[in-house]
Symmetry: C2
Subunit: 482 residues, 2 copies
């Protein structure tokens, strides 16, 4: 009994506990569970050694002991050939769960390595939302086979869930909410629950509906179990927990879970009828995946791709990003090319020009990152863009002046030419101011155009700061120094 | 009643429901709640207009209607002066919750705007873990005042929680777990729970302990309510849900919650005694903050900083990052400076050299990002580094050859010089290969040194690809073309 209990209650429970103890079966059992320090490194090592030695039975034993999430993690860390071998040693009844923890590309590949019958058996006990995710990742035909292999109510629910976009409340929900009426008593609800064998996983809340199936509120189990048996549901339920409309974006769902500290939430259709619930475990996955995607996207990578995909496949994927960046590099080179005459006469300019471009790029990416986050949190809006603009220009001016002076002093010390110092100072200040404007404007414009600023913002910004940086530096030098 | 119910059970509940309905009080009430489409934009607009017009009462009314999380979001979106005004209109009893949703810098500033008495009143009803976060963000002295203002068991718990590092299981936990004994019956537990007024927020699970307070297992409420009243706790509890040692890193805790789909989990001390529990809402916040921090860090920004901090303060913070990057830019410039003679003779090299550096930087950042994620997921390890190395070098070779040819053709077309084409092709291939090696080696070395690769990796990588790119291109040109 921990601190939360008032001291009056302790004796009550202690006594009851002692009474019950007389009939206890092995109450003070031997071992108490604690988390074992997971040494993932040695597990991978052991697995690879067993695979190399061809001891597949040992592989099976090793995997058998682990949680499906850990099996998935290890499979992803294995090169393709070893991965297939290890995968063949995962029991069919656990394979479905393992698939649900894998990134799309890998789960698709491994699902296709199974016979169709085995695959159907493997996913038979999957929660519907996990099955929906898997089907959406698989080739269309294989997905259809899996749908056809389900039957009855599960088939119906599966088909209706597949109809919703993956990144909407409908795509996140499970149709397994337990619903009760507002006018029944706590005791009745409890008796009813005892008639059920088990509740669906992650059930912390019952949903309250009326005769027509309209959602009325949520009844937490933690409230139900502390209530008097005579209390009616409508006196205990949270009537202020709004139903999430089925077409709400996944992003908005995640925000609501985070803001309201929800563990599960009801999903309603356009008429307000309860059609399912979203549980926090799926929201946790969603947030993690979004964060993963954001970081990978910035390098032009696909977060669902296999780290060990064939070299040719990976090369082709990455080539696209390199090609896009080559375009911006050539644009910068073209600007420099306009000033070949100047560079021929003052070669020091060629030495210093990357500094101007680089400082602009760094400063601009700071503004860009800040604004992209502000947009995501809905904290950058019409009402405060002007204030933000003033601040960013102010910061750019201060840092511009500071670093312009520093670089100018270093340049003069290096090349002994006051003219070059003046020109580079002016160019840096100018580029930092442009970088602030671009860092603010680019995400706003992209968002209005419906393009994710996190995806394209950084390339466009670099193009701007490179072009402006080279043009300002070499242009000013041409005008002032020649 | 939704799909989950077997058809046999439906009539039972329907009947009970109807019986109870005879005594119902307004069961089929008027409105059913649905989420209102939150138009955050117009809310900020309305708030700013009211503030500008000096209508503080209206500000208070607007804020009063909103969830504390939304109030926090709007406060963060307001410039400092308007923010203080709006903050003064937040009711003291809601101010604590609002503080807990704010980023550190802002919550500290706003907490200090309150009189100490008001602040103490505001945080009086905060959950302990939120209070701990707040105290850790506040100046030490103010934090001490808040600790001293609590009393009794709350004070004791608070002090013990403050003793744990913020980013450990101890820092995440609340000491409000409800514990029961393994040998009592379900009916007894239920009777005991009814003696409590309410359970702590986010209670989905009771913890099972033995006489000595050692953790034995977890009893889900959803299992308790479906069990026969005579079933003993040890027959219903999950004995396989391990207690999380109090010194486990927050990152590891988040991973366990994600992998095991947990809603709450027990925390144990070194002897295995139950000392608290972690709830999923804190894990959600943690994951979100980690993701936020990762993205902000890459631009050298602090995720807890105020978007509207004074210009001078923000300038100083960002200047550090610009300064670090200036060092790497000067290093690159120094390399170019070694080849002034070459540049004077072939000015085309100055035009093309940024392309070589830029392609290396992009390709390297792809490998770097992949490896950093692999390390975070523990999927890059001794066992598979060699495989990864081979793959990355293979990809670099393929993309190196592809883009070397493309750039060479363009360079020859532009400058009509086969020598320059050959040199730039060789330099790009070389730089991409070095970029792959650096992208793999840098995070591995940083991690071994205990430095977060996500923080420093990208700057170091850019330095390498710039230096190698310029050196290879200009060096080869000097040797081959002069």
């Amino acid at each position: 009994m921990l601190g939360h209990l008032s001291t009056e209650l302790r004796p009550t429970l202690m006594r009851e506990s002692r009474e019950d103890a007389e009939h206890a079966i092995g109450a003070d059992a031997d071992s108490h569970p604690t988390a074992d320090p997971t040494d993932a490194g040695s597990e991978l090592q052991a697995l690879m050694e067993a695979l190399e030695a061809g001891k597949l039975k040992r592989v099976g034993k090793l995997l058998h002991r682990m949680h499906p999430a850990k099996v998935a993690g290890l499979l992803e860390a294995l090169p393709p050939a070893e991965r297939s071998q290890a995968w063949s040693m995962v029991e069919t009844e656990r394979a479905g769960r393992v698939l649900s923890f894998l990134h799309d590309e890998i789960s698709t590949a491994l699902a296709q390595e199974l016979d169709l019958d085995d695959l159907i058996a493997a996913v038979h006990h999957l929660e519907l939302d996990d099955l929906v995710d898997l089907i959406q990742a698989l080739p269309a035909e294989l997905g259809r086979h899996l749908v056809q292999a389900t039957a009855g109510a599960r088939r119906e629910q599966l088909e209706s869930m597949l109809a919703y976009p993956e990144d909407s409340a409908g795509g996140l929900m499970n149709a397994d909410a337990i619903a009760v009426r507002a006018d029944v008593k706590a005791g009745t609800v409890l008796r009813y629950l005892r008639l059920l064998d088990t509740l669906p996983p992650q059930t912390d809340t019952l949903m309250v509906v009326d005769r027509k199936g309209l959602y009325r509120g949520a009844l937490r189990l933690s409230v139900l179990v502390t209530a008097d048996l005579d209390t009616r549901v409508n006196a205990m339920m949270q009537a202020d927990l709004a139903g999430i409309p089925v077409d709400t974006s996944a992003l908005e769902v995640a925000r609501q879970f985070q803001d309201l500290d929800l563990m599960s939430a009801p999903v309603v259709d356009t008429e307000g009828r309860l059609i399912g619930r979203i549980t926090v475990d799926d929201v946790v996955d969603l947030i993690r995946e979004d964060s993963d995607r954001a970081v990978m996207q910035m390098a032009g990578l696909d977060d669902e791709a296999d780290m060990f995909a064939p070299v040719l496949v990976s090369s082709r994927r990455r080539a696209v990003w390199l090609g896009i960046n080559l375009l911006t590099a050539f644009l910068a080179a073209w600007v420099i090319g306009r000033f070949q005459g100047t560079l021929e006469q003052i070669v020091a300019l060629a030495v210093l020009m990357p500094i101007v471009a680089s400082m602009g790029g760094i400063a601009g990416s700071q503004t860009l990152t800040l604004v992209i986050r502000g947009l995501a949190l809905k904290q950058v809006q019409k009402g405060n863009v002007r204030v933000l603009l003033n601040r960013e220009v102010g910061i750019a001016a201060l840092n511009g002046i500071l670093w312009a002076l520093v670089v100018a002093v270093l340049a003069v010390a290096w090349f002994g030419d006051w003219g070059i110092g003046g020109v580079i100072a002016a160019a840096i200040l100018l580029n930092l101011l442009c970088a602030a404007l671009a860092g603010l404007a680019i995400p706003l414009v992209l968002e209005r155009m419906g393009i994710d600023p996190a995806l394209a913002g950084s390339v466009i910004l670099t193009t701007v700061t490179d072009v402006v940086g080279f043009f300002a530096f070499l242009g000013l030098a041409t005008v002032l120094l020649l």
